[in-house]
């Protein structure tokens, strides 16, 4: 990514990639330096680089929104493809790319939200007018069904990456198909929820007739977007989690665990990644009446400081054997899973109540990895089998996507290498 380090005050939150993530991985130790975005060159009014209102470069070897410091807010959308025409679909990807480049730079879509023909609806829906770019990133992915359902028609037969596997059924899964899967996904992250929602809304609108939203999820993470905060954020269970995520600037770990390498294949995925999305519902009411001791045992950390069992500081290296055998941190730790490491980017969600008066809340888990078979699957197998946390959570939505490499420049478009066969 063409991001530069330009502040001396690292924001650990943005660094760590808050996923409430400890739900799957909850180890200790912090990452390295922080990456701060700079505004896109020529993106209009100059915005201080350290500001949360700045623009993140849309172009680059990898898509923004993966290693980018995590923004406050999420609107994630999965789409079904409705068109059967390859050219129409390619045209959509190009239109989406153009719109995404404009929106991430803080501009309105097309001719804008006003001033056009009085008889026509404006190109842009307008609710982001006057708002700053807010570090909006838009990250596109292709689901397995794109290759299976539309493969022949779109000339993609045989092009599905081997690493884009269908996830196995994990014990305890209670997946709602209407909140799972999708031919395409777009992850919109921004420091302002209105900017993220605006982006998905406009892409959906451009797509009507060619694609239709299958499901979408709003997420929130940080409660303060301006003050750098050295604390690891807490999930909705009140625990600090995700202290050992991959840092967005740690090129070595990113190359090893996140980016698809040249030899991994297929060619069109080089520089890309694989995304697993899980909607994890928390039974917060029962959790809240669980004793403090049990809560801490379940995680393998203390609730106040966030230190692993027997340790004093949050980032002290955990001693796994000191924890209960079914403690979440112990089971999720790379050492318990043959070194399996993923980059987490999840968000908390609260979708009101469920009609029974229970909070419909939890973690929208997003994890990026070089190969799902070596990342999410082994970790989740071990968690689903024995994690003490399972009594309080349930996986209710699931999807996996191939995230192609970045859009290189203004002439490039999302998925070009896949559709043209030229990397």
């Amino acid at each position: 990514m063409s991001e530069e380090t330009s502040t001396g005050a690292p924001s650990r939150r943005s660094l760590l990639g808050w996923g409430g993530a400890g739900l799957v991985l909850g180890a200790a130790a912090a990452g390295g330096a922080v990456a701060v975005t700079r505004e896109e060159s020529g993106a209009g009014d100059a915005v201080p680089a350290a500001s949360t209102g700045a623009a993140v470069d849309f172009h680059g070897p990898h898509q923004a929104g993966i290693a980018t410091p995590v923004q406050d807010r999420l609107h994630f959308a999965a789409f079904d493809v409705k068109t059967e025409d390859r050219e129409e679909f390619v045209a959509l990807l190009k239109e989406w790319t153009r719109a995404a480049a404009r929106m991430t730079a803080g501009h309105a879509v097309g001719e804008g939200a006003f001033g056009g023909l009085a008889e026509a609806p404006p190109d842009d829906t307008g609710e982001a007018l006057g708002l700053r770019p807010s570090r909006l990133t838009l990250t596109l992915g292709f689901g397995p069904s794109l290759f299976e359902k539309h493969g022949e028609r779109f000339g993609l037969a045989g092009r599905r990456p081997k690493a884009l596997v269908d996830l196995p059924k994990f014990p305890g899964d209670n997946l709602d198909r209407a909140r799972s899967d999708g031919d395409l996904c777009v992850q919109a992250c921004a420091d302002d929820p209105q900017v993220a929602v605006h982006a998905i809304r406009n892409l959906a609108r451009i797509g009507f007739g060619r694609v239709a939203i299958r499901w979408s999820q709003l997420g929130f993470g940080k409660t303060s977007s301006t003050t750098p905060d050295a604390q690891t954020p807490r999930n909705l269970m009140g625990f600090k989690d995700g202290t050992r995520n991959i840092a967005g600037t740690d090129e070595a770990r990113l190359a090893r665990h996140v980016w698809v390498g040249e030899k991994d294949g297929p060619d069109w995925m080089t520089g890309g990644s694989y995304l697993v999305a899980r909607r994890i519902r928390m039974n917060v009411e029962t959790w809240d009446r669980t004793s403090l001791r049990e809560q801490e045992d379940v995680f393998g950390r203390d609730k106040g400081e966030g230190a692993a069992v027997g340790k004093a500081e949050e980032r002290d290296e955990p001693f796994l054997k000191a924890m209960k055998p079914d403690a979440h941190v112990r089971l999720a730790h790379p050492d318990s899973n043959g070194g399996a490491t993923i980059l987490r980017r999840g968000y908390s969600f609260t979708d009101g109540t469920d009609g029974l008066g229970r909070l419909d809340a939890g973690l929208f888990f997003l994890a990026y990895q070089r190969d799902v078979r070596e990342g999410f699957i082994p970790v989740q197998r071990s968690l689903a089998a024995t994690d003490a946390l399972n009594e309080y959570i349930q996986h209710v939505g699931s999807a996996v996507f191939a995230i192609p490499p970045g859009v290189r420049d203004k002439d490039d478009w999302w998925g070009r290498a896949l559709f043209t066969g030229k990397a």
Binding site: K82, E119, A120, P121, A178
Partner: protein
């Protein structure tokens, strides 16, 4: 019935008529240059001159026929400039209007039925009205007759329904319910433009205001729908409501030709019909007791397609890609609807699956289809006014 929609067109209509039509008054038929003598008979509508100066115009009408007649001064798109009804045999009446230079028509309607016998006339000199693409005038005129024809054809179908209600025949009434609504649903935006008819005939219980008493103030199709499907009985109140529905719809039929219709209101009306589907039909809210939502759905789409078809010659010239997309999406939605026809219905059959039997996934598929059509349809108005 829809969530509050401002009867904008109705307001505009009133203003336009106030500006253009002075008054209709009784007169002996004498007059100066602006007077046109109209001699109506049972098969003729003769005018004394086909050109007259713009400004104050008087039509001195004499009915020499044996039937009661009506006389209209019309714009080329069939909008009414001025009219006079109930001109009995052997009587004279006068109507006046303030007109700008341009083309007009005078129509006599012996027996007060049909399109009438027409004569083209012209107002000359003075201020000119902006010239509109004559193809658009034609589109508006044809749409106006479509709307009128829908209303004309609806009344007998409504009578089948209301007769059954009056006879207390529950089954026959249920059967006639959905067909009685088709003409209305096809042309709803025009009916709604009057503001007062829709709340009488097509309101749902939740559309009533706080200060309205459902027992007294809820009238129209959906009140009867509830009686037939939910209460499963027909009492005196229902029989009275059936008669009231006949009366309200007769009023609609009479006024529908006077609606202000423009090329853009046609285009936007088409989009509004799809919006109706997107907000009321796909949710099953519209026909919550009878579950005949797909009949309304189909009728809404047909009405939209009619408006589009009439505007297409101009729209396809200004925006060929849009026309291509609309053709495609209308066909796709029609195909999708076809999948929900009960039995082996043909393309023009209204025998649809009850909507409570349509699953969530199918409902989403239908909504996706509606969105796919409504989005490009929202650009039709611009394509009609663009360029030239």
């Amino acid at each position: 019935m829809h969530r509050a929609r401002l009867p904008l067109a109705a307001a505009t209509a009133a203003a336009a008529l106030a500006a253009l039509t002075g008054c209709t008054e009784k007169s002996d038929g004498k007059g100066g240059d602006g007077t046109v003598k109209v001699t109506a008979s049972d098969d003729k509508c003769e005018v004394s001159k086909k050109e007259f100066p713009a400004g104050h115009v008087k039509l001195a009408v004499e009915n020499k026929g044996s039937k009661v007649t009506e006389v209209y001064l019309l714009f080329p798109d069939d909008r009414i400039v001025s009219e006079r009804e109930n001109i009995g045999p052997g009587t004279r009446q006068t109507l006046t209007a303030e007109v700008k230079a341009g083309d007009y028509r005078i129509a006599c309607k012996p027996g007060m039925k049909g399109k009438g016998i027409r004569q083209d006339v012209k107002a000359t000199g003075g201020g000119r009205t902006a010239k509109r693409d004559p193809r658009l005038d034609k589109a508006v005129a044809e749409y106006r007759s479509y709307v009128q024809a829908q209303a004309d054809e609806t009344l007998p179908k409504v009578k089948v329904f209301t007769d059954a209600v009056r006879k207390g025949d529950l089954e026959a009434a249920k059967k006639a319910y959905a067909p009685s609504r088709i003409g209305w649903e096809r042309t709803e935006p025009v009916a709604e433009s009057f503001g007062d008819i829709d709340p009488k005939v097509d309101v749902r219980e939740d559309g009533l205001a706080d200060d309205q008493d459902p027992a007294k103030d809820w009238t129209g199709w959906h009140r009867l729908e509830r009686a037939l499907w939910q209460d499963k009985k027909i009492g005196q109140r229902e029989k009275d409501l059936a008669t009231r529905l006949d009366k309200d719809l007769a009023h609609w039929r009479k006024r529908v030709g006077k609606a202000v219709i423009t090329p853009t209101s046609m285009a936007n009306g088409a989009k509004e019909l799809l919006d109706e589907v997107a907000t009321g039909k796909v949710t099953g809210e519209e026909e919550r007791y009878s579950h005949t939502d797909l009949v309304d759905f189909k009728a809404n789409v047909e009405g939209a397609e009619k408006a589009y078809a009439l505007l297409k010659p101009v729209a396809s010239e200004n925006d060929p890609a849009l026309a291509k997309e609309l053709d495609k999406q209308f066909a796709a939605l029609d195909e999708l609807l076809g999948r929900h026809r009960a039995g082996k219905g043909t393309a023009d059959s209204y025998d649809f699956t009850a909507y409570d039997k349509v699953g969530k996934a199918d409902r989403k598929e239908l909504l996706d289809g509606v969105n796919a059509l409504a989005e490009p349809l929202s650009k039709l108005a611009a394509a009609v006014v663009a360029s030239k």
